[in-house]
Amino acid sequence: MAKLFKNMFATSESTALTLGEELAQKGVSRRQILKFSSYVAALMALPASYSTAIAESLSKARRQSVIWLSFQECTGCTESITRSFSPSLEDLIFDFISLDYSEALMNVSGSAAEAARKQAMEENKGKYIVVVEGSIPLDKDGIYSVSGGHTNLDVLKEVAKDAMAIISMGTCASFGGIPAAHPNPTGAVGVHEIIKDKPIINVPGCPPIPEVMTGTIAFLLSLGKIPELDHLGRPKAFYGDNIHDRCYRRPFYERGEFANSFDDEGARKGYCLFNLGCKGPVTYNACATIKWNGGVSFPIQSGHGCLGCSEPGFWDKGSFYSPLSTPTSGLGKAAMGAAAVGTAGAVVASLVQRKRRENILKAAAVPKPTETKLGADDE
């Protein structure tokens, strides 16, 4: 019986419908595609006229095959994408993409799951998108993270080989994230340190904003190309501005109105959190504009400073509660040491000075004044 179903689902290239046709069959009109496209365009800050092009390209595409790999992760990124409102995850997986492998969401376990992955890789050779969640440990040949008896390292290399592009979802996959935090016990690294010959889009964040995840996927599948990336490989549309510049509390910063503790009057009035360690000024992400969970809030709006989670190595930048303008290293001991050395140095230098002076005075002693007898005329 199971075989029967499997046959029923078996598919071949020749009979595959384009997305446009498939959607039309489901009663989804071109208007809907156009609307989705204009939303993607707005989300990615593309010229609004792009929406027509996106709609055209979407109509012609087959549902995009996506393979989602879970490595050293906490599943927070997968959790996050389920919170995406527009487009929603179910809209994506039912209408626009084919999520062919996802350990967190897929039905079957074990060999059947692995088979699904292989099948997708074969059918979409060179065309599938790989999403990586979690970092990859390199120490001890990668034995610190194993799935199905294979190290993440092996699986990544295998799957990446025939991929169209890789999305490093979350800070772990992008930059190593928390497993790579000091002292990086397992030698964890991000995808780009292993895969060098494929386009990689970094979508960092711990986790990333749901709409940024779905938006990036939507862009990739809509236009079939990599969006414009910044120097850290992040889509500029989402990571182009720092949070501080777009923060609704920015005017308080300008006015010099700051919360100085977490529950003072300033905090309650929504003043700027710079003094409480907010990393908004050096963190590039869309939290302040797209916000979280359907736009209800984002960390700063809820009173806690930005942790800087979309930046490489943010775990090791000193305490989350140290204001940006403060030194990361404790200066107290260093300063005391310097003070002690300075004082000692000054004492020694003074003694040397004193000694030199005495020597000079001894050598060129001021002669005793001549006791000239006055009164004796010398003319």
């Binding site: 069959q25 059947a112 088979a115 034995i143 194993v146 008896g149 509390r249 919360a259 009173g303």
Partner: protein, 577 residues
């Protein structure tokens, strides 16, 4: 013929878990071994850091139970520093944990567990009108019209017709263990989608209090979310009048979904699988640390969920639990890839060590050496005994301690299914406990919310205690334990602070209690024991039975299952990958 079955990876869980099991000639599981195959060393990473930062690190232990590790960490620091928090902060934490329970349990049930019981493809054969009738017969949930079910069916059909099944690919469709009629399957699939949309809405509660979900923000000494003194506009924080009323709406939404969808669905589905109330028991020992203080105090008497240990299914007696007692809580590493300095004796978490020492086979490997070390999990034991933690433990503890609402709802549910209380010691008992617990907690949430609003109206806006925020005010040495009843079970974080820095950090998480490997005496953990309780695989290539029992624990790591014969001799290797 004896067989070894490997299922790897097990999906629809968090993380990487591997279980090795051995079946006899009839396909019955004789031995099972559970192994965590991924390690990040977060405990090592935490050392030397500012204890106030620890929550953010600890929170990333898990993104599914995204909140609990952060909060356990905060509580550990607060316990170490004897740091009191304002009543409002305690109420907010209660509401947040409560929301986490309801959200997490619903998502587990529909998105991680349901596909073990529901045949998606069978839903295509359902009659939407009959489905509507079925749905209306068990609940007054609004989404129950024939048109609604027809739309869902159309959507699934579109997916199937496209030939691109995505996450539903390669399912064990048509497996005789699927017993639901097509209409029940369609209803469950519809609710799968509904729950996905619903969960998006309800986590807004976390976003309002914590800025985002997953991984909302916490703060040592209270909560970071000031109660807005401005009503709106640019100056407001998320916890304004608007935010508060939104929270209320969300709580109502949670209660409605639990009452109208989750509870009825659980009963409906369970009624087709009553044989699963007879297997998958586990170790028969249950433990809770207690949670939900009614105020800011640490008074154990004021906890909604009591703490204690139940041994050998004996609900008439509860052993007291002391987390700080080195003779009660110990972690063993006899079968774990860790090194303890000296011999491998059990260590209390304050003295715990995390020295990675992999001794397993080289990858790629077909099986682990179950006689030696075979997991990244340690084996925690209470007075040397394996115990199960989680919803079942909590419901039993509430039941045993005489909590009336629990007794009422548990008895009502069991009687509806025609089952005795003993049925709870099982795979589906575990799943049902999750449902019951969701209802109990959802009902409590509105009370906490009302108390919070009453405090605010009375002028108490305090959510954070500044008193010990400055590390200069700390003792040079301190240690503490933060405990919390996470959705998956008792969670404890142990912290040792020296000179304002973390000297040692040990998290003893629910999945360690449940999924840990054997201890030095060969004592099996709950996962292993549950699988060894009356499980016969219909088709070793489709280990649906293993999925069901493992998923009933709502695992929080990635896993694999081996099956080998009792002699340990390898027989037939089932295709793994």
């Amino acid at each position: 013929m004896n067989q070894r079955v490997v299922v790897d990876p097990i999906t629809r869980i968090e993380g990487h878990l591997r279980i090795e099991a051995e079946t006899d000639a009839n396909g019955k599981i004789a031995q099972a071994y559970s192994s965590g195959t991924m390690v990040r060393g977060i405990e090592l990473i935490l050392r030397g850091r500012d204890p106030r930062d620890a929550w953010a690190f600890a929170q990333r232990i898990c993104g599914v139970c995204t909140l609990v590790h952060g909060l356990a960490s905060v509580r550990a620091v607060e316990d170490a520093l004897k740091y009191d928090i304002p009543a409002n902060a305690q109420l907010i934490r209660n509401i947040m944990i409560g929301a986490q329970y309801v959200h997490d349990h619903v998502m587990h049930f529909y998105h991680l567990h349901a596909l073990d019981w529901v045949d998606v493809v069978s839903a295509l054969k359902a009659d939407p009108a009959a489905t509507s009738t079925l749905a209306q017969s068990i609940s007054n949930y609004r989404n129950s019209s024939p048109g609604y079910f027809s739309d869902v069916q159309k959507r699934v059909k579109g997916l199937v017709d496209s030939g691109q099944l995505g996450i539903f690919a390669n399912g064990f469709y048509g497996h005789p263990e699927f017993k639901l009629p097509p209409e029940a399957n369609l209803m469950a699939v519809a609710h799968y989608l509904d729950a996905l949309a619903w969960q998006r809405e309800v986590v807004k509660l976390h976003a309002i209090f914590g800025g985002k979900n997953p991984h909302p923000n916490f703060l040592v000494g209270g909560m970071p979310t000031p109660i807005s003194s401005a009503s709106g506009g640019a100056a407001a924080t998320s916890l304004s009048i608007v935010g508060l009323s939104q929270i209320r709406e969300i709580i109502v939404k949670m209660q409605d979904f639990v009452n109208q969808v989750y509870v009825p669905d659980t009963i409906a589905i369970a009624s087709f699988y009553k044989d699963w109330f007879k297997r998958g028991e586990g170790v028969g020992n249950f433990m809770t640390c207690g949670d939900f203080p009614s105020d800011g105090s640490k008074d154990k008497a004021k906890l909604l969920i009591p703490s204690g240990v139940i041994l050998n299914r004996d609900l008439s007696h509860i052993e007291p639990l002391d987390l700080n007692d080195p003779s009660q809580v110990q972690e063993f590493v006899d079968h774990s890839w860790y090194d303890y300095e000296g011999d491998k004796k059990g260590l209390h978490p304050y003295d715990g060590q995390t020295n990675l020492n992999y001794t397993g086979p080289e990858a790629p490997y077909a099986q682990l050496d179950i006689d030696k070390e075979y997991s990244w999990l340690k084996s925690p034991r209470w007075r040397g005994k394996p115990v199960e933690v989680g919803p079942l433990a909590r419901v039993l503890m509430l039941y045993a301690s005489g909590h009336e609402p629990t007794k009422e709802i548990a008895n009502a549910t069991l009687s509806k299914l025609g089952l005795p209380i003993e049925a709870m010691f099982s795979t589906l008992g575990r799943t049902a406990s999750r449902t019951l617990e969701s209802k109990i907690i959802a009902d409590q949430m509105m009370g906490w919310y009302d108390n919070l609003v009453a405090n605010i109206k009375a002028g108490d806006l305090s959510v954070h205690n500044e008193a010990k925020w400055n590390p200069n005010d700390w003792p040079s040495e301190a240690k503490g334990v933060g405990f919390l009843e996470a959705p998956r079970g008792m969670l404890t974080h142990y912290i040792v602070i020296k000179d304002k820095k973390i000297a040692n950090y040990q998290a003893v998480v629910p999945s360690t209690w449940n999924a840990g490997p054997r201890d030095g005496n060969g004592g099996v953990g709950p996962y292993e024991a549950a699988l060894m309780d009356n499980h016969t695989l219909f088709d070793p290539k489709q280990p649906l039975e293993i999925q069901r029992t493992i998923h009933s624990f709502d695992p929080c790591l990635a896993c694999a299952v081996h099956v080998s014969d009792p002699d340990g001799e390898e027989l037939v290797q089932i295709k793994i990958q």
